[in-house]
Point group: C5
Chain length 254, copies 5
């Protein structure tokens, strides 16, 4: 589980909330019609851009940002080198039935065992990767859309509040509080966008990028295993996927 994401979002919202509570009168900051405009309007806009299925699936996508299980590149390298060892000694068919954790690596090895041509295997894995990226980008786009719609709805709410206040200024005492209420929707929109939707979109992008790099590593491993490359050479070649300072470890571990 990715603690940093949960910690970060809870922390940011907590800090904003405590600043409100410390300032006293936290009740002033709750305004049901304002919340309705911003949250309801944003949901409406996002719903209109996707299909119903995608909208309902978005919660699962958001969960991914928090629950993302990271496959460490070092573990992948170790596993690939092991597989290469076995394949070189006992032939690629010896890998059949082996327990392989990363599903993309498993899929690649299965294609090899099925006896497909190396070119075909590489092409199928590459397409799988490309299409996976396309699908994930829909989720990212949805959170970006929340991040741009919420402030827009906040502004619309504030404009409505201002017009109502300005067209009815008989009681000068009510001007301040009315304006406070009008500003609330802008605040809601800013918090939803900046402390929730945009960070999640950014996190999903980071996850997708890590995932892409891991899959490129696997693609190369599968090709090498199929061609019977020397496991040590494969390992040497794969460490390029690690940052400079963690290569020593990966080479020792193997």
């Amino acid at each position: 589980m990715d603690l940093a994401t949960l910690l970060g979002i809870v922390g940011a919202i907590g800090i904003i909330a405590s600043a409100i509570v410390i300032g006293g009168s936290a009740g002033t900051f709750v305004n049901a019609p304002g919340l309705l405009i911003v949250v309801g309007g944003t949901i409406g806009v996002v719903l209109s851009q996707v299909s119903l299925a995608q909208f309902l699936g978005s919660f699962k996508v958001a969960m991914a940002a928090f629950m993302h299980k990271d496959f460490a590149a070092t573990d992948l390298i170790r596993e690939a080198v092991e597989l290469a060892n076995v394949a070189r000694k006992e032939g690629i068919l010896a890998l059949e039935g082996r327990d392989i954790e990363h599903p993309f690596l498993k899929k690649g090895i299965d294609l090899c065992i099925d006896g497909h041509n190396p070119d075909v295997v590489a092409q199928m894995l590459e397409r799988e990767l490309d299409l996976h990226i396309e699908r994930e980008e829909t989720g990212i786009r949805m959170f970006k859309s929340i991040g741009s719609s919420a402030p827009a709805m906040g502004m619309i709410g504030t404009l409505i509040g201002l017009v109502q206040m300005l067209s009815n200024m008989e009681d000068p005492k009510s001007i301040g509080p009315s304006m406070a209420v009008a500003l609330l929707t802008t605040l809601y929109g800013a918090v939803i966008a900046n402390a929730f939707a945009l960070p999640i979109a950014e996190k999903l992008k980071m996850i997708l990028n890590d995932d892409r790099l891991n899959k490129m590593l696997i693609l190369e491993s599968v090709s090498a295993i199929q061609e019977g490359v020397n496991p040590r050479v494969l390992q040497q070649s794969l460490v390029a996927f690690l940052p400079e300072n963690s290569r020593e470890l990966a080479l020792e571990a193997a």
Copy 2:
């Protein structure tokens, strides 16, 4: 029909409208000259960017966002596998006169039946796809243009209102209501852009993307059918176009 889009836009505008009505004095929010500036000005600007034919065609394009008939990728895969089965057993000519629902798939199969070279078929379908995308992007650009012109016209309207108010401030009582009226055009522009034009533009982009993926799936199917690939192999290869969790179903169904 794509319920989510209709629901979303009607919902967002409904929420905004009800917030106005609940605040009382909904009449304050209707201002004919303001509406004229924002709606008329935006129409003028968009009209100036396209040809008359494209402008009149835009309503049909907008309808597409609501009425979009989605070809499910699973159905396309099933149909392609069926066609591959027939073609493999009885030859490609046996597909002549068959009822094929997706027009792009039909076109591809027709080209095969006409006896064109596989390279030529692939190239013609690819170009058809590229040119289709270019044409659709004109429609998307038009709604984006509405989405950027409406707020600009709203701001122009507000500036005009402010100048009129400021240069004539003899009656202090009229300042508030005059300013309220001035702000209305900004509100109109924001609503048109954020609850109508930009969501439709985004939806059209999503539709175009789904369509592109379906056509890529078809492109591959047609090539495979023409080359007489084993239907099971074709099916295995096409499931990459589906999200991981719906592949099982597609494989069973076939």
Copy 3:
């Protein structure tokens, strides 16, 4: 002539003007120093970015947005099929001296008649197209530059007006009108950008895109004519450049 562009821009500016006139006191909206800052400043900025020749040529470029003569793709297809017919029956030299309306098509046919190699013809036409696009983009960039400079100059003018007003507030009665005057430059900048410069830039982009598609159609036609492709096959292949619903007509007409 492209009526939509003229209609659109005149319409948008007309609506803004009538909103001003209806509000009474149209005179308030004319401010010579303000106009000087926005118009003069914008001209200065744009002038500094281009050469003198390009600047003076910009009026001709703007005219193109209004006077653009559209070659309909259907006409181009008909002409190309005719030429292909003649070339196939009587040889390519029979096209010499023929009256060909579209200059790019004429150039392509002339290159064929001169006896250049098909590869050379294609390469020369492609480069001609690429360089044409580069040249046109200079014009587009100029109108975009007007569109971003005018609001900036408007803001500078407003800031100057505000500073002058704020540092001299002895007569409270003059505050309103002074502020009105200060806001005028922002209004000028917004109108110039949104109802004039940006729409023209967008229109020029659309024209360039149509032109590019037409030239790609011609490129393909010239190759086919030179290689003696069957005119019916050429026609079948070129209709991909038309939207789905106008293909029937083009095929009948031929």
Copy 4:
């Protein structure tokens, strides 16, 4: 020398200055601490992004925007055709010691004379061009950075001024002038960005683009000269680099 750039920038700043002077009390617009924040802060930010050498070199880069010597494409074509004539008649070595004005053309011809392979010559010139573009882009990025930092520093200055004014409002008479002073930094930032830094960045981009086109023309000329292409054919091919309406002249002149 490129008069338009100098004229444009001096003109834009002059118009702004005269609007200030005409408004009386030009002295109000000079505020030493404000200037320090905007100019000093911007210099600091830009300095932090580049090396000391690049920063000091920026003045030379800016000068380039004003002093840019344009090689007319028509002159380059004439010179290339001349060289092609000589090379075809007397061999490429006859070009040794010839006076060639454009340094990139000279370099290309020198490489041919040194007896390098056509492929090697083309590759060296292309890389030279790519690396030249990369280097120039550093200068452009610096002026863009000034253009985004100056308004930011202006806003920071205004915020500081507003906080100082608001926390000390005992004398209501001083509110106006204090606010005027606070707004000055925003004005400084807007003028520096919009009437100086961004236009220069844009101009440098235009120069770089012209330069790139000229060098592409030269690249092609050098290849043709080395391969002994017919000078008339070379000329026909190079006119594609000229706008349609100046081709006649170039063909006659030669």
Copy 5:
């Protein structure tokens, strides 16, 4: 050490600080809850976008902006030419054990000594370069994220302050100071973004770009050394990586 970056950032912040101190009442500008919202909220948002390890590593990345050791391209060229000289005279194995300063050059030469194929060496170095760029971009993205989150948090803080002030305006004397406090968070966000985070992001991008060019120079050198290219020819070819005016020196020095 890269003095310009330190100088620049310290200078920009120093100028802002001194403007505050000169205005008197520097104490007004310190507000603990405001600082907490902006700094704490920004940390939360950034933390949520990266893994814990990346977040803690960011300080090291920032240090890189200040401590960046620049390998001068001239030194690299000199070293590459030396190596080429030795390799040509005594064979590539003579380079074994030699002291090579730049780690990427060392890695390339080591691969050559290990007897890898030229294609394999080039491919491994290229991938190493690509993956290095991907890794560095994570650091850049983090500082960009600070640069966009800090102003957003600043705005949220100001909105909270305004709502609190407006809903409690009984004492008119407190309005000014309350608003001053509300504006402080916007000021904090603007300073953090514009005088710290964005300049560092920009600097890291510049460093990455220089690094990339140096590594491309090395890539070419290693290929040339392995193929036994004449050292003078190599030198001639590498000077293209230097700006025009420093080539003479590099050629003399060698």
